[in-house]
Structures are given as structure tokens and as C-alpha cells.
Symmetry: D2
């Protein structure tokens, strides 16, 4: 039987880099987790174990640390692009690089003291190809939000397995995973990140929701229409169910005051919102 190699990539995952910039007595901190995948002319290594085309993942890790020293980290989207371009430019067999970075937030406590801040993690995903194309996706994950009211769910399809009663008042809670695609003209990734994050929070808080899908769309739409340079937003929103507990056996009412926060199962709502004229995504999301 004839067998062939299909799509493949390899790299170093989760290089944990902490970078300190010393501005006199005042220090600045970057705390990131860098994962890289390279692809290209990799037939030989798979078929015969000939490693001539393989830049070791250990070297990739070293490059992360060396580049932090040489160039600083700065915005993660820029750092990822620098790494991706380096591997494609310097390794003949490497045709394409994919760099993913997570950044953890810290709040200043003193000139050289910091406290981890928030539950959410800032992310980016950068692709760079030997033909010169670069795509940049920014994002966040684990941004946990909750509305205690302003959420309904009724008028849905019903079949023989439906037992859920309709409701005009429920808790709506989710852990936002959002990623947004830039289309080239983002002057500051830091500013953009803050704007998109705020747009997502505002839309969640201020949308009177008849379904989590509606809220998802409102969040994506708000980000695209208010933040420059964003052409597509993809959201994954687990519906973290909060069930009002039936207290009637104890002679108590429960007017949406006492909830059981459930773990599993959970609804999972995934969707994309695009500018109508968004360019083709290419490999941006891969």
C-alpha cells in the first residue's frame, strides 16, 4: 500500500520567558509563554530520519531568550513576528513559521514589585510565510464575566426530549475566549488590545440577551465597529450554567437569588463576526 506524508509541523512549545527591563530603580516586567511551529521541506526527516533540515527545538528555545536580550519583548505580536521572520529567513528548509504567545498580566506594587493581575491571559498567533505574507491574530482567554440579570431564553425549538422551561430572567456567565484578526493597519497592539477587551466587556454587560448567541454577535460586532484595524473576531463562549436552586421543599421562595454554579455539562457557543469586506483569512487561524 502506498503511503505518504501529509501536513506537518514541529517546534518548541511553552518556553516560559520572563523579561525584566531596568529603568533605573523602576523595573518593567514581561511574562510570556512562547510556542513555535516550523514547517517546510521535512520529507527526509520523517521518512529516513535525516535531520539536515531540522533546526532543533532546543535552538528555537535559545532564540527566544537571545531575542529577548537583543531586542526586548515589547508587544507580543511584534515579538512573535520577529521570531517567525527569523526562522523563515535563516533556515532554507523552513517555508513557514507559526508563533503563538501567551502573556500574563502583573500589577505594579512598587518600583520592582509586582502582583499577578486578573484571571485573563492575553494571546497572539502569528503566521509568516516564505512568500512574505504575515498574518496577526490577537486575543485573550479566561476572561470570566457574569450578568445577574438582563438575560432571557425562550421561544426555542422544542422536541420530544425538551424539558427546559423558558425563562425571562437568568444569570448569564461565561469565560471569554476571543481572537481577532488584524488586517494590516494596527498602529499599536497595546492600544488595540485595551480597546477590544473593553468593547467585549461593554457589549457583554450592556446587551440585553435573549440568547448567548446574540451576546456573542454583539461582542464581535462591537469590537469590529469600534476598534481600528480589526476585520474578524472569533469567540468561544462556554455557557457557565447557574441554576436557581429549588428551595420550595424548605418553604422558601427563590427569586433568582440562590444559584448552583454547575461545572459540566455546559453549553458551548462558537462564532465568527467579520467586516463585510474582510480579506481572505488565508492561514491566519491555523
Amino acid at each position: 500500500m502506498a503511503v505518504k506524508l501529509g501536513a506537518n509541523r514541529y517546534g518548541k512549545a511553552e518556553t516560559r520567558l520572563v523579561h525584566v527591563v531596568r529603568d533605573g530603580p523602576v523595573h518593567h516586567l514581561k511574562d510570556v509563554n512562547v510556542s513555535m511551529s516550523l514547517s517546510g521541506d521535512m520529507e527526509a526527516v520523517h521518512l529516513t530520519g535525516d535531520n539536515a533540515a531540522v533546526l532543533p527545538t532546543d535552538t528555537q528555545k535559545n532564540t527566544v531568550y537571545a531575542f529577548a536580550r537583543k531586542h526586548g519583548v515589547g508587544q507580543i505580536e511584534a515579538f512573535a513576528q520577529r521570531l517567525a521572520r527569523h526562522f523563515v529567513a535563516s533556515q532554507p528548509a523552513v517555508r513557514h513559521a507559526r508563533v503563538e504567545i501567551e502573556e500574563y498580566a502583573w500589577r505594579r506594587q512598587g518600583p520592582h514589585s509586582f502582583v499577578r493581575d486578573g484571571t485573563e491571559v492575553r494571546t497572539c498567533l502569528v503566521h509568516h510565510d516564505e512568500d512574505g505574507r504575515t498574518t496577526v491574530v490577537s486575543g485573550l482567554k479566561d476572561l470570566v464575566v457574569l450578568n445577574t440579570t438582563g438575560s432571557e431564553f425562550h421561544g426555542y425549538a422544542v422536541d420530544e426530549y425538551t424539558t427546559l422551561p423558558p425563562t425571562t430572567d437568568r444569570v448569564l456567565a461565561t469565560a471569554v475566549t476571543a481572537r481577532w484578526r488584524h488586517d494590516g493597519d494596527t498602529p499599536s497592539y497595546a492600544t488595540s488590545y485595551g480597546q477590544v477587551r473593553q468593547a467585549l466587556l461593554d457589549a457583554f454587560a450592556h446587551t440585553h440577551s435573549r440568547s448567548l448567541q446574540q451576546t456573542l454577535y454583539a461582542m464581535g460586532e462591537r469590537a469590529i465597529t469600534t476598534c481600528e484595524g480589526i476585520c474578524e473576531v472569533r469567540l468561544a463562549l462556554p455557557n457557565k450554567h447557574h441554576f436557581a436552586v429549588d428551595l420550595s421543599p424548605f418553604g422558601l421562595d427563590n427569586d433568582n437569588e440562590v444559584f448552583h454554579a454547575a461545572d459540566r455539562p455546559y453549553g458551548l457557543i462558537e462564532g465568527s463576526v467579520l467586516r463585510a469586506d474582510a480579506p481572505d483569512a488565508g492561514f491566519a487561524w491555523e
Copy 2:
């Protein structure tokens, strides 16, 4: 600015079902985790919150339990297909269903007693479309394997950031995530699962490895060439580094006996192996 809805799907994730079949005093156990995503005519719910097309995720969960009672669970690939077909067939707005199942293994201790077995989890991913196409991907994850020798790594590309010394003897360890695509004629998913699992283990154990990529390809090739009905295997293999500890400061040698098992960073090798005549994958992997 004109904005539009892009790709979307929704469903109930991680419904934890345990099904007991009572064969007189001897009981049989199925322990699964079912996640579903439906897609189709879902513009209205996103844009206006009109839920008429939305079958609640709560109903989806109920369907899992009711189907287990009515039809049993059996092979997870078959159970997933039954669910996927049901949603597409019964809901006019649902054009496509995606069902993912994890199965946890138990070893019998007595007629009605069981012990959780192994670290690995059996998986499947089934897509069913209103046009009648169904694709089935089987898999496993968290199958942790280790060779204490028979692995080399040398002859790789070197640049200014390379410090890794070549080696002709190292520990090779990984946690296998494997998924394989069926092309239609798999008579028994249970038999097939056992065959593919064994093929992966055999190829890992018996390949003298010059790189993890070579081992990956050997694993995929062995599965495809020895297991009927499999046209593509995708593997993700983290290189779980085991570093020989430098004991020379203590006047001790270390001939690959004492290792530090590292957590992060780790190499990550991903690749696909296909039959040369594999049909187009369509949405099988989405």
C-alpha cells in the same frame, strides 16, 4: 461599517454519561463524555436573539441520556453517528452536526465491580451533514510511552543559537494523541481501535529513532498499512524531554541512568500520514 456573521456552531459540551448493561448478575459498563455542536440556519438567533431555530443544549443533553436508554451506547463511533443523524434529521434548521466522544476504560474486578484502567482515553469525532455525508475519525489521547534507548538525535541544522550537543543515545518519551480517519469500510470499531492502538505501540517500541518525526511517521504508516479501513492518521507527539543529569560535580558518571523529567518547554511534533489514494477529508477534522 457593514458586519456579518461568519462560521458558527453551538451545542452541549461534556455530558458525562455512565451506562450500565445488566446481563443477569454480570454488569457491563460504558463511561463516556459527549460533546455536540450543531450548525445551520442560525442567522436570526445571532442578529436578533430569535431562538426559533435553536434546539436548546439542555435538550441535546437529554437526548444523550434517552438514546443511551433506548439504544445502548455500544461503540462510541456508532453512538456519535446516531446522535448526529438524529439532530440533522429532526431539526429543520440544523444542517450539520458534529459529535465528539471520549471513553474511559475500566477493568473488571468482579461481576459488578470495576477499576479505572490505563491513562489513555479513547476518542471519536463524527460529522454528519444534511447532504448525507458522514465522516468518522477515531482516536486516543494520553497514551504515555517511553523508550530508554534506541533513540538518537544528530546531524541537524545548526545556527548561531544552537548549543544542543548531538547524541546517539537518549530517552524518547511522549504522550500520544492520535486520530485516524476511516474511509467507510470498518466492520468493527472495537477491533479497529485495538489494532491501531497496538500498531502505534509496536511502531514506537520497535523503531530505532533518529528523530521523533521519524517515529511519528513510522507510527502512522504502521497503523495505515496494518489496519483495515484507515486512510489517514494524524499524530501530535510532545517530546517529553528527559535530560541526563550532570553528576560530574559529585565525581559520578551518568551513562544514561539518571534523568530529570522536564515539564516545560517541550518539543511538539505534529504530522499526518495518508494512504496515497486517501479520499478528500472534507470536514472530517474540523
Copy 3:
């Protein structure tokens, strides 16, 4: 061989309660995780399976929800005491109750909208005994802090297995788990919590550290001497190692700018700081 029952306890763990207080359009949120353990005359249930003395853990869970409705949650230390006293007072066989609560912080985004805040979790552990004694321990965990300088480590004991070079400048980072014992006169647990948390942060940030043990003691001492009603602080501080990366192979220096944040192994420093006249702890920490 004669065998006997030793210490035992049982209860419902991890009841996830979310409580909403509606103050007109402005809502308030409490998000807690309640774990209870009861003990007392439990010989029969262990030896013969006679459950007459056993209040079901399901009932304990119901009580959490009912009490939230009847009395609100308020400060977790008070809620825990209310629960503990109830079980001891109402169940003849229950001689002692232990209630542990975790509270998750939320930041207000709007009148009924909230965002999860911070990584740290507020905790309490309350014991109540049939003889009337109650002990209250408050705490926090997962408070992650980091100093980029102001930390040394040298002058330590050296043996034949020591290879660590001394340093006069290192990163010091930890995830604080702190618990503090009240000795009866804490007028407001909310105020007290804020004071202790700030004392711990201040001592961490402003102690020039020659060892993590010294920092631990400074944190405990600061909390005890500045916060009313606290007689003992127990701290567990993992030393989250940040290793300066050797960049010399690349012709680069590294003056404590580029660090590898390691996962395992880690140092673990545990210690208690007490007021010299602290009363006996009794069962407070059990």
C-alpha cells in the same frame, strides 16, 4: 486481630453557591465554594452500616442553599460559623463541625455586571465543637507576587552535593498561601482581610530578602503586628524559581534581564509566626 475505628469525619465537599442580593437595580454578588465535615458518634455506621447517626451530605448541601436564602452569605467566616453551629446544635450525634469556604472575587462592571478579579482566592476554616468552642482561621491562596530585585541568597551551608553559586541579586517569586488565626475580637472580617492581605503584600515588596524564610517571617510579623485580633499566621511559599539564562554562547551578557520561569522542582518554605502570648490553637488548624 483486634481492630478499631480511629479519627473520622464526613461531609459534602465543594458546594458551589452563587448568591445575588438585589438592591433595586444594583445587584451584589457572592461566589463561594463550601466544604463541610461532621464528626461525632459514628461507630455504628462504620462497623455495621447503620446510618441512624448520619445526616446525609445531600442534606448538608441543601442547608447551604437554604441558609443563603434565609440569612444571606455575608462574610464567609460568619456564614461558616452559622453552618457549623447549626449541625452541632441540631444533630445529636454530631459533636463537631468543620466548615471550609473559598470565595472568588468579582469586580463590578455595571449595576448587574461583574468580571472575575485577581488570581487569589479568599478562604476560611471554622471549627465548632459541642462544648461551645469555635475557632476561626481566615486566609488566602494563589496570590502570586514577584520582586525583580532586592533578593539575595548566599552564606548557606555547603556539602559535597552543593553546586549552587551564591547570588546577591535574584528574582524572588511565590504564590502565597496564608492562613491566620483569630483570637476572638475581630470586629469585621472584611476589614481584617483587607488589612492582612495588604500587610502580606507590603512585607513581601519592602523586605530586602536574604532568604525566602526571612521574607516569610517578615510577612507573618507584619500581619500580626499591624492587624487587630490575629494571633498566628501560617504561610506556605513555593519558591518559584526564575533562572537567569546563560546567553554567553551567543555573545550576550545577561544582567538579570532574561529569565526562564521554571515549573518543577521548586523550593517550598513553610512556617508559622505567632504572637508570643497566642492562646493554644486547639483544633483550629485541623
Copy 4:
């Protein structure tokens, strides 16, 4: 206000050691996670940062690796004792050592190939004191077991918050954490481990259970009465609830066939079973 140092200890946690013994072409594997805590004359380091008494945790880690090379690992209880005795004997300031080890099981696939086996982890906790006393506790955790029948729960205490219906047939499932104290005459820890593990499994499988407490006691009693050299067993058994799903809305019965496996909350049953003449535990469990 006068403040003093209370109980304290420090050490290196989670040193991940993999040890390979090469017996010609056949290799043997030990995979362990070692955590140590030392205590003694540690006032100075806490109060003034004087590290003279402190053997660095880095040195402790080195010692683990060097000892594996010099002496092999063997049974974890013996390896832990060797380490504990070394630190107390060689460091004047160290009065007491506590060593905790986890061991991960592997199943042989070939002369030098292995597959991770089972979900459970073997554990030990060893204390050694300068006065010569040594205590050894062996254990296991994450041993997940389930009976599909043979479990009842009724006749329990009822109060105004009780809604649970009694049952004469339920699923009983738990993840066993067990630790057992040796009293000095255990000729083979390997044999002992196998015996106790089997005794726990047998008692779980073959006890007709009227409560999880009864099963807990039966497990401890079986281990003590059938395994030589064990004087106390401590068990922590989460009651992993499996709720029979109400299928009546769909016109289906459910005679304990279809279950929802819940995550939280869960019952937690903890207890100790001792030989009537068990010696005092001293610091064995600390």
C-alpha cells in the same frame, strides 16, 4: 507586641527523577517525584536572613540525583529513608527530615520500551528524627473504583432540609486515597504494597455497602488483618455521585442503567482504622 517563630520546615518539592537500570539489553525503569522538608535550628534564617544553617534546596535536589546513581532507587520507602537519614546525619542544624515520594507505574512493552500503566500513583511519607526514630507510611492515590450495584443508602437522619430519597440500589464510585503506617517489620515494601492494594480492591468489590463509611472501614480492616506489619490505615474516599437520570418525561424507565456522573459537590468520607494495639503514631502523619 512580642512575636515568635512557630513550626517551620523547608525543602525542595517535586524533583522528577527517572532512573534506568540497564541489565544488558533489558532495562528497568523507576519514575518518581521526590519532595523533601527539613527542619531544625532555623531561627536565624527567619529572623535575620542568616543562611548558615540552610542547606539549599538546590543541594537537596542534587542529592536525589546523586543517590539514585550511587545506590539506585529500589523501593520508594527505602529511598526516602536513605535521603532522610542523610540530611539529619550530615547537617548539624537539621534535626528532622520528611521525605515524600510518588511513583508512577509503567508496563513493559519490550526490552527497553514502556507504557504508563493505571491511573493510580504509589506514595510514601517517611520521617526521620535526630533521636533515631523513623516512621514509614506507604500509600496510593487516584485508584478509581466503581460498583454498579451492591450499594444501599437508607435509614439515615432526617431533618427539615432533607430531600434525598432512600435507595436500596445505587452506583458506588470513589477515587481511593489510602495511606498505611508500618510498625517496623515489613520485609518487602513491594510485596506489602501489592497486598494492601489488593485488600483494598477486594474489600471495595465484595462489601455489600449500606454506606461509604461502612465500605471505608471494611477496606481498612481488610488491609490491617491480611497484610503483615500494617498497624493503621487512613482513607479518604470522595463519593463520586452517579445520579440515575429521570427519563420519565420521555416515556422511558431507568432501572439504574443510565447515570449522570457528577463533578461537584461530592461527599467526602475520611477515616482511620487501627490495630487495637497500634503504637503511638508520633509524627508519622505530619
